[in-house]
């Protein structure tokens, strides 16, 4: 086990800079999820940690060693691939033993480790089977078994659940969590799925276009998104954004609409973006309302209902209790608690603190 440090890591393919300087400190035994939309460089970053991609500049440290120029096999890592990458001509047992055999471990030692991993992952009955005789979930477990037996300092997961169906994904999420709880190995997990990121992460790294937008615990990222990008990316449905200019009376939108909101004194007179999560909006009396939503469409989710509607020209969403069901076209007065409002700088997208 070891800590993992990234120091201003950069990667370019030709003239195109894919990763524009990422720094992160991952503590020993921590489970960190790198999350971001496709093409943000998260998989490339993981492959750089694994040693499958060269590092253009910066440093990667595993434990106290700089591993920039080490071969993947010398980095003491194990990786679980998106398509599992099981060796199709080998049985489950051989798949798990392959890396150990190459390292020259004794036969009994290999067998003990394989048996232990098989027991943890409930693969005992499948050891003699070939990968093609396994279901998706079982293959996924074998891929994890292959990583576990190596007893590496760091586990790397490259979107390991994206080939599974929704139900299995939930189940495997639990198993990965349980596994990490039992083994306590430092883990880096890449995904584009924010639910996976929120549920699995002890800390998450939100990336976009080659930079880190925010590093923090899931709760921090949700409650205090550092940038407008993070605010829009994490949370479902996405946060509502209202761009406008702040003045003493509130926020004046570009289309002339006015929001009677108490803008913190420090932010007066600036171009701002107000962010409100759909789930933080609630129905209120018209005189208390922050704004009135012209209901356009409803989506019933069971316990909750999503109301899509217009405020001026802005399309907004509110997540209300299913008891509320305004008819389309009906005006719905809505409010949000002041401490649930997020302020971002219109130009830079950075979070602005009210205080």
């Amino acid at each position: 086990m070891a800590k993992l440090q990234l120091r201003n890591v950069k990667k370019s393919f030709g003239n195109v800079e894919i990763i524009k300087g990422v720094s992160a400190d991952i503590a020993d035994g921590e489970f960190v999820v790198i999350v971001g939309p496709s093409g943000c460089g998260k998989s490339t970053l993981l492959r750089m940690i694994a040693g499958l991609e060269a590092i253009t500049s910066g440093e990667i440290l595993i434990g106290d060693r700089v591993v920039n120029n080490l071969e993947p096999k010398d980095r003491d890592i194990a990786m679980v691939f998106q398509n599992y990458a099981l060796y199709p001509h080998m049985s489950v047992r051989q798949n798990m033993a392959y890396g150990l055999k190459i390292r020259g471990l004794a036969k009994d030692d290999i067998e003990t480790r394989v048996q232990r991993a098989a027991k943890i992952l409930e693969l005992g009955d499948l050891l003699a089977r070939k990968p093609r005789e396994l279901s998706g979930g079982q293959r996924q477990r074998v891929a994890m078994g292959r990583a576990i037996v190596r007893e590496p300092s760091v586990f790397l997961f490259d979107e390991p659940l994206s080939n599974l169906d929704a139900k299995l994904r939930v189940q495997m999420r639990f198993e990965i969590q349980k596994l990490h709880h039992n083994l306590g190995t430092t883990s880096v997990y890449v995904t584009h799925d924010q639910v996976e990121a929120m549920t699995l992460a002890e800390r998450m790294v939100v990336m976009s276009a080659g930079i880190t937008e925010q590093i923090g615990s899931p709760a921090e990222v949700y409650q205090r998104p550092a940038t407008r990008f993070v605010a829009g990316f994490i949370g479902s449905p996405a946060m509502n954004f209202l761009p406008g200019r702040a003045d003493a009376t509130g926020l004046t939108l570009a289309d002339g609409g006015h929001l009677a909101v108490s803008v913190p004194a420090a932010l007066a007179g600036r171009e701002l973006v107000l962010g409100i999560r759909p789930e933080h909006l609630e129905v209120c009396a018209p005189q208390e309302a922050l704004f009135t939503l012209q209901t356009e469409m409803r989506e019933m989710l069971g316990a909750d209902i999503l109301i899509h509607g217009l405020f001026g020209k802005e399309l907004l969403v509110a997540r209300l209790s299913a008891a509320e069901h305004p008819a389309p076209g009906q005006a719905l007065p809505l409010r949000a608690l002041p401490d649930r409002l997020h302020w971002f700088d219109a130009a830079s997208g950075a979070r602005l603190e009210a205080a």
Partner: protein, 293 residues
Amino acid sequence: MEKRTQFPVGWLPYALVAPQLAITIVFFIWPAGQALWQSLLVQDAFGIHTEFVWFENFQVLFADPTYLESFRVTAVFATLVTSLGLGSALVLAAACDHVIRGARTYQTLIIWPYAVAPAIAAVLWTFMFNPTVGILAYGLEQIGYHWNHQLNGGQAMALIVISGLFKLIPYDFLFFLAGLQSIPKSLIEAAAIDGAGPVKRFLTISFPLLSPTSFFLLVVNLVYAFFDTFGIIDAATQGGPFRSTTVLVYKVFQDGFKGLDLGGSAAQSVVLMAIVISLTVVQFRYIERKVQY
């Protein structure tokens, strides 16, 4: 319950398979039957008198030391062509799989020789190895090696092996390269993380995954060496010197069309037919089922 759709049987199905049947009968069954019948006959050189002799042609054939020698020559030739062909094609394909810059040019250059007709390939090499004017023979002479495939049987064998390989390597290369490129990259990466170096990765991952391709090529190459090299041998050595390059298929031609021993030649064709059939059976029965993962 019969699950397949059944149609009332009429004349249509027969009409639909008739062209295929006609082609098979005219171009395969008939000549094969002729050969079988022919192999039981003895005919004089002018075709005036024919006698039915049962299996005498075969008895004579297997008592004939030149025929047994031809078997040995064929075995040597086929082994050399197949092993060298598969081996060098595999090495070239593995190398090509690693090349990043100019890979297309490299591939195209390797595939080119396949477009050359066998007889032309043989003439090309014969000319280059010509003891009097050939550039390669000259080169060998310069380093003190005397080359004359018109006199030396071993050198004649080397010449037809090289001419045969010239066409075979591009073919094998193409299949091996396609096979290597269809192996998912993540498998190789997983093996790299598991600690395997490039050679180990090739031996334990790539090569086993290529086994269906390899076995397919093995059979195809053997068939090629046995039967498709007539043009090369006829153009390069005409079976000589002193029968050192007379492979089975060339001997059929020599005995039948030059020696005018039609019965004996037909008996040799029947033996060859038996070899092809058994190779095909091996491929279908054994290899297609066993070699998979």
